[in-house]
Symmetry: C2
Subunit: 219 residues, 2 copies
Amino acid sequence: MQQKKSEATRERLVATALRLFREQGYDRTTMRAIAAEAGVSTGNAYYYFSSKNDLVQALYHSLQDEHRARSLPLLRDGQNLGEHLRAILQSGIDVMGPYHDFGFNFIGVAIQPSSNLGPFSDDSSVARAKSIALFNQAVNTARPQPPLAIRADLPELLWLVYMGVTLFWVYDRSPGQRRTRRLIDNAAPLIAKLVILSRLPVVRKIVDDVVQLIKNTKQ
Amino acid sequence: MQQKKSEATRERLVATALRLFREQGYDRTTMRAIAAEAGVSTGNAYYYFSSKNDLVQALYHSLQDEHRARSLPLLRDGQNLGEHLRAILQSGIDVMGPYHDFGFNFIGVAIQPSSNLGPFSDDSSVARAKSIALFNQAVNTARPQPPLAIRADLPELLWLVYMGVTLFWVYDRSPGQRRTRRLIDNAAPLIAKLVILSRLPVVRKIVDDVVQLIKNTKQ
DNA sequence: TCTCCTTCTTGAACACGTTCAAAAGAGTCT
DNA sequence: AGACTCTTTTGAACGTGTTCAAGAAGGAGA
């Protein structure tokens, strides 16, 4: 019985935080306000979330779930990879849109290795894996299938592209983040073309080098 | 007479801030401590720098000057582009090394459009131009010369690579940032090779697309 | 019902970045 | 010297994220 109530309080805090973040932006949303609007004391908010950034993390996870939910129906079998990539990236921007104000914090949450040192409790790597799984789906359902040689590495590479686009979006001050949308529209087919071209020996060699570079750098 | 003293105070503040940042990291260095160590009141520090981030910006500019000073002698005529690129990137890491703690703030300063809205007073774009000039030098003194077709765009592309590497460095938790150094050692020759290959029609077409993409997205 | 333990909740307190009204200092003109 | 202006300096104050000792609430066993 205690558990249910506790869980309810936690969810009320997340919901309130999300709303206030959306309505007033990150900086103007104070922990005191979140707690008050959720009907608890300031200290109690810290019982559930160890920092304001923790709440951003909760928001990030929630957005990621929404991103997945929105993207999957768009990945229709038989579309080419460029279309899939475009769909995923654009819907990513759509989902994050209302929170553009503090995209800066997102990047931190998305890339930063969490402070949890336990080998399995790494929260952000779970999120990363989830995100990569989405690109995996995009690759697997695309027609024509990408060359076998890079098919395995492609999801991670696309995720990197996604991170890059997100970074661009964070610093995109154009109204409605038009420039990011244009970037996506142009980059998605280009990347798809590149993937096809990776069949050619010259390009293939470069891609191999890049993949090797990434693997090599990863310890 | 007043001016000299004022300038001295300003410089004392920057010097103190740099030292404390280096010794204690960003978060543990308080504005109160900087002011106290510099022998002025807290409020006075704000007379010279409108925020703590402003001091980071000062540090960033100082590091950029040092980066330039260290890199230029390494760009010997006749070395190939890969060597030049490697030299610039590695010395960039060297210079930033002691401040790895708050590299996160650097990225912000480096990329973020400053709040100054005046068309010419944009502080960060000056810094950017300075940085790009360095890559321009690297390109111009390299032998063999890169293909004419991309020579003009190359400095900016390399600057983008530099930004990417810096981003990687920020999140690189390996001791001494070894992984970033390895990344540079592997990526520099690869990129140089790519530049050479851009003579081939296939690759050339891709590079053109990328350049077009960037130009296109830039409004 | 009483006792004990765990979970949850509180509000005051702390340290920080930042602001501001007020004062001190420096220079200039009469 | 004195009056006036502009620059520089001060320290208290505000609002913020975060911590913490203390207590309330809930459940389990006697």
